[in-house]
């Protein structure tokens, strides 16, 4: 390794890096390698390079909060009793003493008030779940917006989408376990969703609940799904996700020396291991602070589940909010009876059709994009969102749909807090859910294209200095100065978009080409996707612009100081080579 570390942390290196005689650790390693042969695999990976960028940390938050979930979850299982047997609560919490409830509710209250640290662990578990799903979603957005899902990473994208689905189900099964009034209401709604399934709905409900709702089986069944089945699959898929990440090597942002062929960053050992390991403690610490200071899911306030009761403002956990919102804005009477059989469109559409459809759309995004562009190359350099305006706009449209549906899920809360009519909010949402995404798509795409133009301006004419000069003729103009070579290269380090040519309808023999219809569609989509994009300037354009700039500079030659407007800030410093120290 020819990295110059001569000046690095000399205090670390008072001892020789390798002992002359193998110590106990060395002997142990030899013993292990004689049997496992791990050295071959480890020599490649111990110093594996990971590129650095703040946005690469989002997936790490998801990973570490999953670890926190496993740790706190195991703690909770030591006391939790997933039984629907009816008992009278006799624990420390005064206001529920003497009240009948299921054993799962009683043990949840017991964990909260009679086990030291129990409430802390419960709240950490719940906060970690909320963070787990939130960070998965933000990570997903990062991957999509930067085009990291392109070949060869499409399958890892699919795994990620499945992880998001499973995480959501895991959250639902988890918060249903205490058998409190709020979660019981959610389970009853879930029973209604099952029953809305055509043909087999009622049977599905009977099989899940062991007979009619609520029965005495649902909590133990959800429990084993929550602590074994889904976590097992999650663990396996996370492992696959990480293995593929290591195999593909991480994507990186383009820049000087950072190409499609290499990966530039810090080695796994020591820097990346230390940063990632330290970050685990930070995620864990933040969740502990949240668990200690922020109340979440206070089931003792909701009371035990009673199928005849409900509270106003009943809300599922946040990640279940968007299907709930769709459920709320369906207009009245959407149910049909065909040949005597009931079809509940009002439940099927928002719960059984649209959310699975959204998941399918999400999973298909990289494949659709790959088909439209016809791009079969591997991509390891990330794209700035502005440089893929259509993709960015599609994602923002999907986000808008999600956000509006989610807001609709809180229509009662919005009505109360903002003193609005719940009916009017609902009417608004019924329209906005269709118009919003279209509007968002259009605005985002134009915005991206305008940012692309701005980048070209900077390349061709330099950055705006804020210095206004007046010519002898009295003409005012703003002085532009060229951006640094580094910035200029980074801005241009992207591919030129190529619109697929429309295929001719017939081949040379005059026979209609077999695939011509799908090919025409593809060409149209390609044009829709790319034709409005702004391409980076050519070399000739740049040279022409620079020539023009030199002419401008000559005109200003009489000035006795460099008028770049940055005498007093660090803009100039950053691009100069003689600055010895980096500002850390």
């Amino acid at each position: 390794m020819s990295v110059d570390t001569s000046k690095v942390a000399t205090s670390n290196r008072t001892n020789a890096a390798t002992a002359s005689k193998p110590g106990p650790a060395g002997s142990l390693a030899t013993w292990a390698d004689d049997r496992l042969g791990l050295a071959t695999a480890m020599k490649k990976n111990l110093r594996k390079v990971f590129p650095d960028h703040w946005s690469f940390m989002l997936g790490e938050i998801a990973l570490w909060s999953f670890v926190v979930l496993l740790l706190t979850g195991v703690f909770l299982t030591l006391w939790f009793n997933p039984s629907m047997g009816h008992i009278t609560y006799e624990g420390s919490y005064d206001q529920l003493r003497g009240i009948g409830m299921s054993e799962s509710m009683a043990s949840t209250v017991h964990i909260s008030f009679d086990v030291r640290g129990g409430l802390l662990m419960r709240q950490m578990h719940h906060w970690a779940a909320a963070i787990f799903i939130a960070s998965m979603m933000v990570h997903l957005l990062r991957v999509a917006f930067t085009g990291a899902y392109r070949k060869p990473r499409e399958l890892n994208w699919v795994i990620g989408c499945v992880l998001l689905l499973l995480g959501t189900l895991e959250g639902f099964t988890g918060y249903s376990l205490p058998d409190d009034l709020l979660s019981g209401t959610g389970v009853r709604a879930a029973d209604g969703f099952l029953k809305a399934t055509p043909v087999v709905g009622a049977y599905m409900s009977f099989f899940l609940f062991g007979g009619e709702f609520p029965g005495e089986s649902i909590i133990p069944r959800l429990y084993i799904i929550h602590v074994l089945l889904i976590p097992g699959i999650l663990l396996a898929l996370i492992a696959a996700h990480m293995l593929l990440l290591v195999y593909h090597k991480h994507t990186q942002w383009p820049g000087p020396g950072r190409t499609e062929q290499n990966v530039v960053g810090f080695p796994m050992l020591p820097v990346y291991a230390a940063k990632a390991g330290g970050f685990f403690f930070m995620v864990f610490g933040v969740i502990a602070l949240m668990g200690g200071l922020m109340s979440i899911n206070p089931v003792w306030k909701f009371g035990p589940y009673d199928p005849t009761k409900v509270t106003a403002g009943s809300q599922p956990d946040w990640y279940m909010g968007w299907p709930d919102g769709l459920l709320r804005i369906i207009p009245s009477h959407w149910e049909s009876v065909i040949f005597g059989y009931t079809i509940s469109w009002n439940v099927m559409l928002p719960i059984l059709i649209v959310p699975p459809l959204m998941l399918v759309v999400l999973i298909l995004l990289p494949f659709l994009e790959g088909w439209i562009t016809g791009d079969k190359r591997d991509h390891h350099l990330l794209q700035r969102p502005r440089n893929a305006p259509t993709r960015t706009a599609v994602m923002v449209a999907l986000m808008t749909f999600y956000g509006l549906a989610w807001a609709a899920g809180g229509n009662d809360i919005i009505a109360i807090k903002l003193h609005l009519s719940i009916n009017q909010i609902t009417y608004f949402m019924r329209v906005a859910i269709f118009l919003g995404p279209v509007l968002a798509f259009w605005i985002t795409r134009r915005w991206c294209i305008s940012l692309q133009r701005h980048d070209n301006e900077k390349l061709l004419h330099g950055y705006e200095t804020g210095i206004i000069t007046r010519s002898p003729e009295g003409q005012y103009s703003e002085r532009h100065l060229p951006i640094s070579a580094t910035s200029a290269y980074t801005l241009t380090a992207r591919d030129r978009d190529e619109v697929l040519a429309l295929p001719s309808e017939t081949d040379s023999a005059g026979v209609t080409a077999p695939n011509s219809r799908s090919e025409r569609l593809r060409a149209r989509l390609s044009s829709w996707m790319y034709s409005n994009n702004v391409q980076k300037p050519t070399r000739a354009e740049l040279e022409e612009a620079h020539h023009h700039a030199e002419h401008e500079a000559e005109l200003q030659a009489g000035l006795d100081h460099p008028a770049d407007g940055h005498q007093f800030d660090d803009h100039r410093l950053r691009d100069a080579d003689d600055v010895p120290l980096r500002d850390h």
Binding site: P256, G291, S332, N346
Partner: protein
């Protein structure tokens, strides 16, 4: 998995067909990796010592916090002081804060160590195509074919097809059939959904307390959350004791709301003229959307709102849906008064209560 970091020079590579053909210097040539810049801790021994002290201080702070965590664990009891600080127990807050700070200090110290004192020269590693080399593919296909060929499966379709059939049937059928008793035989009866515990002559009682309701007690504008008398068995009323799951099921289906309004306000549905008692009208409490108990009543408009998804029903007009996602009116319970003046049911509900399901209209 093949990767090596033997090369640290930024090479522009090329040649590999799986990688995008970057037109070099289009329009600007890659200036290459910028020279490494030294950090203050690399060149200034004072800064280096300072960073060391900061990191050690954080590690010591973490240990102190861990000790405080143990102290709080044994100092504060849970249970009787569960809302000491801001609605949270002293124990929960102190444990959370000390644990959180312990972990945050460890994490911050390790990251500080990585950023200030560990070597920070960026390294370059070359990428390799995700795809296997063509010769590996060919070899794998050849091995696969050899294996299949030697198995003879391809030449013996009878064996092949019966084998797949046996595996599919042999594993599939038992695993599906084994799940049959998820709903035990006596429980798997869809027609149960159409019936509730209500029966002719059964008194309407107040939920929670179970006292019967005198028709004369109810004022115009009142809403009473009710239940079937059979949910409150006594020696006097002679209903059998209810247990376990069946009690919960009957409770979940039998819940009602009883309202009284000016009889002139009521628009009775044809055939239901005799289902009310002097302006007293009774409906299932279970929303026809997905089954939440509805509860929010506005007496001036006779509207009742489901707090889950805001379906709104007009109780004066056979509980028809006037807003929200529900499709059907709340089922109405025909009521009468017995000889003592108490409200009783004329019969069970005449349609299934609660959420819709496929066979609903057939029952």
């Amino acid at each position: 998995m093949s990767n090596d970091n033997s090369s640290i020079e930024p090479t522009s590579g090329g040649g590999d067909s799986h990688l995008p053909e970057r037109v070099e210097a289009d329009p600007i040539a890659d200036p290459g990796l910028p020279p490494h810049k030294w950090r203050p801790t690399d060149v200034d021994p004072k800064a280096e010592r300072r960073a060391e002290r900061q990191i050690a201080a954080m590690f010591i702070g973490a240990m102190v916090m861990a000790v405080l965590f143990v102290v709080s664990y044994f100092t504060f009891s849970v249970g009787d002081s569960w809302d000491t600080i801001g609605g949270l127990g002293a124990s929960t807050v102190t444990l959370g804060v000390t644990l959180g700070l312990t972990l945050l200090l460890i994490g911050t110290a390790i990251i500080h160590l990585a950023r200030k004192l560990m070597a920070d020269a960026e390294m370059v590693e070359m990428r390799h195509p995700a795809a296997s080399p063509q010769e590996d593919r060919d070899a794998t296909v050849a091995a696969l074919n050899a294996g299949l060929d030697e198995s003879g499966i391809g030449r013996r379709p009878l064996v092949r097809n019966t084998m797949f059939g046996a595996i599919g049937v042999g594993l599939g059928l038992p695993s599906v059939v084994l799940l049959r008793d998820l709903a035990p035989g006596d429980q798997l009866d869809i027609s149960k959904l159409a019936k509730t515990i209500w029966a002719p002559g059964m008194r309407l009682v107040r939920d929670v307390v179970g006292t019967p309701i005198l028709a004369s007690e109810i004022e115009v504008g009142d809403l009473i959350n009710g239940a079937p008398e059979a949910m409150f068995p006594t020696e006097e009323n002679g209903y059998p004791e209810l247990h376990g799951a069946q009690e919960q099921i009957d409770k979940a289906k039998g819940a009602i709301i009883i309202v009284r309004m000016d009889p002139d306000d009521i628009t009775p549905l044809k055939g239901r003229e005799k289902w009310t008692v002097d302006g007293i009208i009774c409906y299932s409490k279970i929303c026809t959307h997905v089954g939440c108990p509805i509860s929010l009543y506005e007496r001036t408009t006779h509207h009742v709102l489901c707090p889950c998804h805001q379906s709104t029903f007009d109780l004066a007009d056979h509980a028809k849906v006037i807003f929200g996602p529900a499709a059907r009116p709340l089922p109405q319970l025909p009521i009468a008064v017995d000889e003592e003046g108490y409200l009783v049911a004329q019969s069970d509900f005449t349609e299934p209560i609660g959420a819709s399901y496929w066979e609903r209209e057939k029952q």
